[in-house]
């Protein structure tokens, strides 16, 4: 119900009420009047029956009264003389004519012989059995006598002059056909019923379809309806009416349909009246409710518009001064207030949003700065540690190099005279051979053969050469050590980068030796202003990684070049390469692919820091299973920080 509109609900409600009232009224009226009408019908029918009974009894009583008065006529005494003078006959004919009698009059003498009659040619007929009576008067109900055509009713009265016994009978007949005419069906059908002891028996019912015999019992009035020829009838029976000793009742029957006609008409009229009242009322209610609901609908529509458009300046149209108008006014005031508040709210929200945004930016900036600072700090710390380490290592290496340099210098310096001396010894031996006699020569030769002199001399030269080379290498290593450690670390120097690269290679030579071929393509050949020691550290880190990346045999290609005042050094290996994820992280501090304790994870991070310090770039390209290439770019001249 609640999802119907108010007007529909109102209309439905009033429809319901109208319907309820109409129905209740109809029911009450129908019940009350139905009862009344039924009683009325019953009464009516009884009335009709009584009336009809009265009508018939009037006819019969009139006849009886007449007959009894006629009987007293002195003429009737002529029955004693068998109507010798035809006075009775004349009288009867006169009476019949005068009273326009429908039936005939008959006078029988005491012997039961017909002596006078209005019916011709029946004289001398014997008194019929049906008319024989001991009573003064008798009404003989529907019967037949031999000399009369058709059924009749007969009044039989004894002719009994005063002081005499019965001298004969006066009979008046009334044709049943005439009685039938009185009982002919119109709206109602009638049955004449001779009242018996116990009131049971048959009766002629006169219906539109002819006469039929029906049974009438004591319980007549209890029977609700009767069915003749397929039509239902209501029946009622009159009071018992007596004519002399003869009593009869009239039953009246009315078709139920006809009887209930008034009730049906009443119902129809009621419904018509209900419709006549109900329909305009419903129209009125519908209009009224629409009138009531329309402002509310307008209000709702406006609210919806405001909802959809978010425009609080829209106003509800207000007309009249009723409650709905008050509501509209109140709503308008509310929207105005809301609009003001909303505008304030929007301004505040905007401010807040801006503030939030700037704060967020600040936080992001600060965070970035902090992160940067932290990274720098970490890097600086690591570098500091490393520098310190390298510094002490450098000092140590420098010390060792210096200390080794002197003996090596001695060895190195002693080599030429040693060669000279050996050559001298060899010359001496050859001289001795020439100088000696045969046995001495033979002895010497035997001894020389014993010690395998030829081999020794040859091998001695080789040994010396080897010695010389070893001493050379020691000298180179020491030089490299010195170069690498550079006690001049913190200072900017003009150095040739190729030297640094070579020194570094020398340092790690033992790690690759025959396994890896080093291909060099030095195209720079120019001094570069830089922190040489730190750059060497970078080369060291990259080369160490490259060597480690080549598991078996391979090559490392080192190139230097000058590109637009920039020195570009590339170190490419044919190693295993690395996947993208690792490549992204290799400059992160403490990132390592090696096991715990094997690497610090700082090498490349520090290298990155060093190149950054030179205002240069360190980039890496790598392809899995093909190799890795580091590209170092630094300016030829250091750009001084302000």
């Amino acid at each position: 119900m609640s999802h119907f509109s108010l007007s529909v609900r109102l209309t439905l409600f009033f429809s319901f009420i109208v319907l309820l009232v109409t129905t209740t009224l109809s029911a009450v009226v129908f019940y009350q009047f139905g009862e009344k009408i039924n009683q009325q019908i019953e009464r009516n029918l009884t009335g009709i029956a009584d009336h009809k009974a009265a009508e018939i009894s009037n006819v019969l009583l009139f006849e009886r009264t007449n007959l009894l008065s006629w009987r007293a006529s002195s003429v009737m005494l002529d029955v004693v003389v068998d109507d010798l003078d035809k006075r009775i006959t004349t009288e009867l004919i006169n009476l019949k004519k005068y009273y326009q009698l429908q039936g005939d009059l008959y006078v029988f003498n005491a012997a039961g012989v017909l002596i006078a009659s209005t019916q011709p040619d029946v004289l001398k007929t014997q008194l019929p059995q049906a008319w024989q009576t001991q009573q003064d008067y008798a009404l003989v109900f529907k019967h037949d006598v031999p000399f009369i055509n058709g059924s009749i009713i007969a009044h039989v009265t004894a002719l009994k002059p005063p002081q005499l016994k019965t001298q004969g009978y006066l009979v008046m007949t009334h044709s049943w056909e005439d009685i039938s005419r009185l009982l002919a069906p119109k709206d109602s059908s009638f049955a004449l019923h001779k009242a018996h002891e116990g009131n049971q028996g048959s009766a002629d019912l006169f219906t539109a379809n002819g006469v039929k015999t029906i049974e009438i019992n004591d319980d007549f009035s209890e029977r609700p309806s009767w069915l003749f020829d397929g039509i239902s009838y209501l029946g009622s029976i009159s009071k018992s009416v007596s004519v002399g000793d003869f009593s009869f009742q009239i039953a009246a029957f009315m078709p139920e349909k006809l009887a209930h006609q008034p009730l049906l008409e009443l119902t129809r009229n009621l419904l018509l009246a209900a419709a006549l009242v109900g329909v305009p009322m419903l129209v009125l209610v519908s209009l009224l409710s629409r009138l009531l609901v329309t402002p509310i609908k307008k209000l709702t529509a406006t609210i919806r518009t405001i909802e959809d458009s978010n425009d609080l300046s829209i106003k509800v149209p207000v007309s009249g001064h009723d409650e709905v108008a008050d509501l509209g006014n109140a709503f308008n005031r509310m929207t105005t207030r809301l609009g003001e508040l909303f505008n304030k709210f929007v301004v505040v929200e905007k401010e807040l949003e801006d503030l939030n945004l700037s704060l967020e930016h600040q936080v992001i900036d600060r965070t970035a700065q902090l992160q940067d600072t932290l990274q720098k700090l970490q890097s600086a710390q690591t570098q500091l540690v490393q520098s310190e380490k390298m510094a002490s290592l450098g000092q140590l290496v420098a010390g060792i190099a210096h200390e080794i340099n002197n003996p090596i210098g001695a060895i190195y310096a002693n080599m030429p005279p040693l060669e000279e001396y050996i050559d001298d010894i060899k010359g001496t031996v050859e001289f001795a051979q020439t100088c000696m006699d045969e046995p001495g020569t033979q002895k010497l030769n035997a001894h020389m053969e014993q010690i395998d002199y030829t081999f020794v001399t040859e091998d001695l030269a080789k040994l010396l050469n080897s010695q010389k080379q070893a001493a050379d290498r020691i000298r180179n290593i020491v030089l490299s050590l010195r170069n690498f450690s550079r006690l001049d670390q913190g200072e900017v120097k003009m150095v040739r980068l190729e030297e640094g690269l070579d020194s570094t290679l020398q340092m790690v030579h033992h790690n690759y030796k025959d396994r890896i071929t080093i291909e060099k393509d030095y195209a720079l050949n120019e001094s570069v202003e830089c922190y040489a020691g730190e750059l060497n550290q970078v080369f060291m880190n990259i080369l160490a990684n490259a060597i480690q990346a080549i598991p078996d045999k391979g090559s490392i290609t080192i190139t230097t070049a000058k590109v637009n005042d920039q020195a570009v050094i590339t170190i490419a290996d044919t190693g295993t390469g690395m996947p993208e994820e690792i490549r992204k992280k290799i400059f992160d501090p403490f990132f390592t692919t090696k096991g715990v304790g094997e690497g610090t994870g700082l090498g490349l991070s520090i290298s990155y820091g060093i190149i950054e310090k030179h205002q240069g770039t360190l980039t890496v390209e790598s392809e899995l299973n093909c190799g890795t290439r580091f590209i170092i770019t630094i300016p030829l001249r250091l750009i001084k920080d302000s």
């Binding site: 005494l77 002529d78 002081q163």
Partner: protein
């Protein structure tokens, strides 16, 4: 007025036209009485004597007013006219007495007396019936 004229006329004409015959007073033979004198007859017809000696009701029979026999009878018994007697009977009728039964013809009177035991009548013709006895006879003059 008219009535008086008619009555007067009848009275004037009567002595001239009347031819007197015998008059017989008759009754049913079963009656105990054998004879009745004039006074008895008068008492009966004046409705003063109503029962025979055996207790039976007396039923006097009359003839129509214009009948000769009635004239004779009235004259003979009451020395009066049928009109006078008629008005007497009318008075008696008002008093609740039944005037004598009128029969149209002498035959009817005879038959009546034959059939009704207590009946008494008068006729000019002498009845032949065995059932009837003559109680009195007035000869013609």
């Amino acid at each position: 007025m008219k009535r008086w004229v008619v009555l007067g006329l009848v009275a004037a004409l009567m002595p001239v036209s009347i031819v007197w015959a015998d008059l017989y007073i008759i009754a049913n033979k079963d009656l105990p009485a054998a004879q009745l004198d004039k006074d008895d007859i008068a008492a009966i017809y004046l409705l003063k004597k109503k029962h025979w000696e055996n207790g039976e009701d007396i039923m006097p029979i009359n003839l129509p007013a214009q009948a000769d026999a009635r004239n004779r009878f009235t004259a003979e018994i009451f020395d009066s006219t049928p009109e006078k007697l008629g008005s007497y009977w009318d008075q008696m009728l008002f008093k609740g007495e039944t005037p004598p039964v009128t029969q149209n013809s002498e035959q009817a009177v005879i038959l009546f007396v034959e059939r009704v035991k207590g009946a008494i009548g008068y006729v000019e013709t002498k009845p032949q019936s065995q059932q009837i006895k003559i109680l009195q006879q007035f000869s013609s003059k």
